[in-house]
Point group: C2
Chain length 645, copies 2
């Protein structure tokens, strides 16, 4: 998408380092748009609005026009840094995209979810108990006889009925036309592929002979940030391979609201978002298949979970109204579609199933999480928390289920903080003790030189700053306490230098500013307040919960004690807190392997009561109380109280 200033006709050559990709664009095009055209993926959390400051690039040669921005320090500007979304091409240029601005590399290992994923006892089920959404049946057709001259299709139905496939069937004309040839080959042995379509079964394929193995499915968790997929052998329920990558929609905005805006503002925005995520899915499918050296024709279906906006873009449904009051989507429970209709490359007649969403802000990832954690089987109430741009919270048991979504903001996702970034290579992911050398020990993703902090690092950092009393409980940095790393930034704002330039190869100082702390505080307060309001509405307290489960990749890497210490997670006994991993993926896999679970997901979505917090005055009150470390009411955090007293 080229934003060309009127009258500007001259074209210029833009080259991007380190990839070396070149593109010719009209003068006036932004560097970000030029990069999109060239196929260079620059991180752009705000979708090009110039507010997130994440799309920093360095102009090595040539001329760009860029307005002043608060997102860059004087030193950076001197070094040639510009924001790619604001800088416009005004001559032939050579652009360097630094590591921290690239959406690249492997998703952190645990995002890809080890194949030995937690599966709530799923794999203990026996093979013959599996009832997958799409099955391949090998059967031998009785030849037609004069005494019983049933049509080819009827004899096929008869054999299927023997296998307990008694639903009314439909089949496409092309399959039906092939039927007589197929049943008269291979001594009447045929392999029938039958797909669950609610009240109907669709026969999606029929071939001569036994080709019932393998029957493969893909379960995919389509996150705002990353897409994770498993290739499943439907006969055994085993995952054969796994793959993950960043969601390429990131170039159109880091969070879902930015991406919706992109759909609204750009004439073909939805098409671009749709194409980007479908290409991601296809890339993952190719990778999954390469690992096991099998053809895409063996994949008979895909089951996907993701948040409501992402699922809209996957389906090509306009998400515009998700962000306009009263915030409703096109469909939360779309029926299965042919995968080919979405552009997904599996068997030509293979199907694409979405897990159901609950509302515009409680997506299929959450429904999948409830399914995966077996919450609907519990007598005792349990809580599921998924911390991301939105913090989604579900409380329930076998009898009832309530949920809410808190606009936490993307502070823990790497946006809205000065040196925040995704948990990609070079991101500091954990900060440990304050060493005698007056520096933190820390770890980075991929053990590379540090170039920013991801969400889990901020949790650790806030806890450390509290313990060191560099920061007080209101979140204010105590500039007066003589700690060397505390200083005033360029704009006069207090900031704490987490990592100094040169330390472990850092190319610049990495800091946390007073504003960063305020944003992180709001994020953690929103999550906590939401869970509090849900409990209060039910007349329950934290201690009534038998378990608090933290879902998502963030949860997997979180330091529990620190998360409680800053008041992000409720202060319950350690044995009640559990990380449950990528329950979106596990739920999708469970539904893939069991029609009853797929139907149960639909029941879950239908029966969940959604609390709209944005219009609830009690929420604002609870939020305000939670804007404190850990909380204004310290008695809600007894273990923290014991430590600090």
């Amino acid at each position: 998408m080229i934003t060309s200033e009127s009258g500007t006709k001259t074209k210029y050559m833009v080259e991007f380092l380190p990839a070396g990709l070149k593109v010719e664009v009209p003068g006036g095009t932004t560097v970000l748009d030029a990069a999109r055209i060239a196929g260079v993926v620059i991180d752009s959390l705000c979708g090009g609005d110039g507010v997130c400051g994440k799309c920093r690039v360095i102009v090595r040669h040539g001329i760009v026009r860029a307005a002043a921005t608060q997102s860059l320090t004087r030193e950076e500007i001197r070094q040639g840094y510009v924001l790619a979304c604001e800088a416009r091409i005004d001559g032939n240029v050579l652009i360097d995209v630094p590591t921290a601005s690239q959406v690249r590399g492997k998703v952190r290992d645990a995002d890809a979810v080890d194949i030995r994923v937690r599966e709530s006892g799923l794999l203990e089920r026996q093979r013959n108990e599996l009832d997958p959404l799409v099955k391949k049946h090998c059967l031998r057709m009785e030849p037609a006889r004069l005494e019983n001259p049933q049509s080819d299709l009827n004899r096929l139905y008869h054999e299927l009925a023997k296998l307990n496939c008694r639903e009314e069937s439909q089949l496409g004309l092309s399959v039906l036309r092939r039927l007589p040839g197929v049943v008269r080959n291979a001594s009447g042995v045929v392999t029938v592929t039958s797909a669950h379509r609610g009240a109907l079964t669709e026969i999606t394929d029929i071939v001569s002979g036994d080709s019932s193995n393998p029957n493969l499915a893909v379960a995919v968790d389509i996150g705002t940030t990353s897409v994770v997929a498993h290739l499943i052998d439907v006969a055994t329920g085993q995952s054969l391979s796994s793959a993950a990558k960043y969601n390429s929609q990131a170039v159109y905005g880091g969070d879902v609201l930015r991406r919706i805006m992109y759909c609204i503002e750009q004439p073909d925005g939805l098409t671009q978002l749709h194409t980007a995520v479908i290409e991601d899915i296809n890339t993952l499918i190719r990778e999954l298949l390469d690992k096991v050296q099998l053809s895409e024709n063996y994949i008979t279906f895909v089951v996907a979970a993701g948040n409501t906006t992402i699922m809209h873009t996957v389906m090509g449904m306009n998400p515009e109204w998700i962000r306009r009051e009263p915030y409703v989507g096109v469909s939360y429970q779309p029926p299965p579609f042919r995968a080919a209709e979405l552009g997904i490359m599996i068997h030509p007649r293979g199907l694409f199933y979405s897990l159901p969403c609950v509302s515009s802000f409680i997506g299929a990832d959450i429904t999948a999480g409830v399914l995966a954690t077996g919450m609907t089987q519990s007598d005792e109430p349990r809580m599921l928390i998924d911390i991301g741009t939105n913090g989604e919270i579900v409380i329930g048991n076998k009898d009832w289920m309530v949920c809410a979504s808190a606009s936490a903001g993307p502070a823990f996702e790497g946006a809205e903080t000065r040196d925040g970034m995704r948990a990609t290579c070079g991101a500091i992911d954990h900060i440990r003790g304050w060493s005698s050398g007056q520096r933190f020990s820390f770890s980075t993703v991929g053990n590379e030189s540090p170039c920013g902090l991801c969400g889990t690092a901020y949790v650790d950092l806030l806890a450390q700053l509290l313990r060191l009393q560099v920061m007080d409980k209101t979140g204010r940095l105590n500039t007066g306490n003589g700690i060397a790393r505390l200083r005033k930034g360029a704009e006069g704002e207090p900031e704490f230098v987490v990592v100094k330039r040169g330390e472990r190869g850092a190319s610049r100082d990495l800091v946390i500013t007073q504003s960063d702390i305020a944003n992180l505080m709001r994020a953690k307060a929103a999550v906590y307040a939401a869970s509090k309001i849900l409990l209060t509405s039910l007349g329950l307290t934290m201690s009534d919960l038998s378990e608090i489960m933290v879902a998502g990749a963030f949860g997997n890497f979180l330091d529990l004690e620190n998360a409680v210490f800053i008041g992000l997670l409720p202060d319950v006994p350690g044995e009640k807190l559990r990380f449950v991993g990528n329950t979106s993926l596990v739920g999708a896999k469970m539904a893939a392997l069991d029609r009853q679970r797929y139907q149960e997901a639909r029941r879950i979505a239908n029966s969940m009561t959604y609390f709209e917090l944005s219009t609830d005055p009690r929420f604002m009150e609870a939020f305000t109380s939670a804007c404190f470390f850990p909380h204004t009411n310290i008695e809600e955090f007894p273990s923290v109280m014991a430590k600090v007293s």
Copy 2:
């Protein structure tokens, strides 16, 4: 399809009169194939096997090579007559296609079925009792509200549920993607098209505003010989227009077995048959729409009935195995398909429903007939007879239903007789008294000069010949009784001159030969024997039947008394014999307008017991007894006995 002799490369120009169409073909091509390429439709009942003798054409100029044939008299050969299927092009030629060899003109009026078709009380039903297969609902969507933020699709389902549309729904991706735009226009007034798909309902279209009228359907009877269609206003159940034409598949064979042979022998035979009949249906649809000046987009579905082979060719399913023991088709109850998938031009997402067939030789036309006549509602057993190439017979009441198909052969269809032809323009259709001038008075279709006899004329003729004692009860022509019109034909075979050359403009003598009578005798005997065997199997006699219904166009024009007199129909009191018209079309229409009737048709097809006569020794015995006028056992024909005694 060009059958070129090997080595023959020279091409010749062939012109066909009276159409004036020209085509260049390689030497050795048959005149019939040349005609097919040129788009000239020459009647070819045997599909080009050289046995029916119906494809006579006259070579006006040029050279063809043709073997001797018994089908042409010496006089005809002298006039230049050849059989188009046998004569091969050997130079530039000018071919004249005489009227009797053309498949052309309007189908006889009553084939088209007057719009005031007998509809078994259907039209007395009130409009609000109609429950058509595809409905258009105009509804007003509740706007989404914060208190009840249902997705667009859910709010749509909610409104549909208010209208008692409670089946599980599916909808295509393209419709779903249009949904949010549509529901936000026209104050939320939308028109939803919902189609019956068994256990599911498919939403095939959704548009803004009220466009629920008109909702049109096409009911079509696809006969071996002719195709008849009605355009129905689904809101009222009224037929708005009707149209009929000959089935263009006729050029590939006059009966279904010839057409199946054509599929087997020609590599793209099925495609040609499929294309021919689909083009016929499209031609009729255009004609139906032209009459009412409406667009094809208003037609939301088609319901079709026809025999099993024809339905196979319509669907593009290979009918090959219908004619190979054990005679089974691909599918007798195919699910609904998108009409566009078949090439039928209605609304792009409109559906094509087939009524169900029972077996390879009891088609959807018969199921439709049972539905239309309400046989399944009767306490008393009734019989339905459809006389065509096959005579199909059904006996049953509300508790049971049996059926059989007798290979009557095409004698009553115009084939297998010397001067037989279809009931098209110039065909003698009725023969009345033997006048004092020693000639028959007769009528012709279209009141044109006589050029042949159709089936109903043969029934009259046989009865007259019996009464005149020109023919005895065994069918032998009494050459010795001095009747002037009785003579020996060219091959020495006795024949009776029905119409002399010159009489009413006849271009040649029209005769009935001894062989013709034998063929007609076999045809009528097969029908009678089949009904007899069915009754005997049930332990019933003709007098146990409360009604005998004769279906089909043939039945409509049949002289009842003559039909009983020659033993074609059973000799029951006149009030028990009823012509029921085109019940295939009426049944299709009833199913179109009522989902329960559509389902009932499927129950009828499933519950009907099919008797295979070809392997039943009692059938051959009954057949032999019926090879007599009216029957060897005259007591089965009491009214005839009274007249002749």
